[in-house]
């Protein structure tokens, strides 16, 4: 181990830096999420046309959730293949469930 200490230290510095970078990115993500939220709320308060607002609200929500998953929960990192698979599986079932309960319950 002894002769490796140096390279370990270098590596440590490298990781530290990488983490710092990442943290910066996450703060930016957070700022964007706040902005999205504000946009969503103001759009609703502004009483715009329903057909226009609802799709945008949805897109904003989905982007926000993607931010959470990929940046805050690190799903973009290596080693998250299985988690992604299962989250997408869950999302697919979730989508079908919501769709059904929306359209196949009242007639």
């Amino acid at each position: 181990m002894a002769e490796n200490t140096n390279s370990v230290n270098n590596e440590l510095d490298y990781h530290k830096k990488k983490k710092k970078e990442e943290m910066k990115q996450q703060v930016i993500t957070f700022a964007l999420m706040i902005v999205f939220t504000i946009i969503a709320f103001t759009m609703v308060e502004a009483d715009l046309d329903k057909l226009f607002v609802i799709p945008i609200l949805f897109i904003l929500a989905i982007v926000q959730v993607a931010f959470q998953l990929y940046y805050f929960m690190h799903m973009s990192h290596k080693g998250h293949e299985m988690p992604s698979l299962m989250m997408y599986g869950g999302a697919a079932v979730a989508f079908l469930t919501v769709l059904t309960l929306l359209v196949l319950v009242w007639w």
Binding site: T5, V8, N9, L12, H15, K16, K19, E22, M23, Q26, V27, F30, M33, I34, T37, A40, F41, V44, E45, K50, V53, I54, L57, F58, L60, A61, Q64, V65, Q68, L69, F72, M73, G79, H80, M82, P83, M86, M87, G89, G90, A91, V93, A94, F95, T97, V98, T100, L101, L102, V105, W106
Partner: protein, 207 residues
Amino acid sequence: MSSHEDVLNPKVMPEEPEKATLEGKNKFLGFWFFLGGETVLFASLFGTYLALKGSTMDDNTSQNLFELPLVFIMTMLLLTSSLTSVYAMYHMKNNDFGKMQLWLGITVVLGLAFLGCELYEFYHYIHHYEFTFRSSAFGSAFYTLVGFHGGHVLFGLLWIVTLMVRNAKRGLNLYNAPKFYIASLYWHFIDVVWVFIFTVVYLMGVI
């Protein structure tokens, strides 16, 4: 086999302490899968809510009830708490236990504030509008969906506090790092659900 209580040495700390041991890897994966299941759980609740959204029996419709400013505050609280828990994990990876605890503490405070707002909201609906769990199918669906989320917040808070108290004296190690990590995953997931709640329930409810 690596589950002796080997305290993290900052000099030789693995890059991902939460996945450094087999137990950690298992916890990490298992918890993600659990979240996959939770996705379906909340989808079922959202679907039910959407199906019953119009089933109001009186004037207590979503348009008449919901007040966006409060919801906005709640959203900000929860979003911010998500960032603070990211900070906590950042310090965990840097093996800075004190700072991690600090940020987790802030997360807990924000979470509590959120819960307080929610309780106030429910109280308000019940006492000012007589809008209850039993007054219409819309009421049942609303309280169940939002309440389930609130229950998750409460559970998350208890969990994080337990971890903080339990490990306050001994600091970070490879045994508890995964525990902290998955608790923070859970916290983020709560936020994910909330994003849909404020969009689907509140914003679309007042349009």
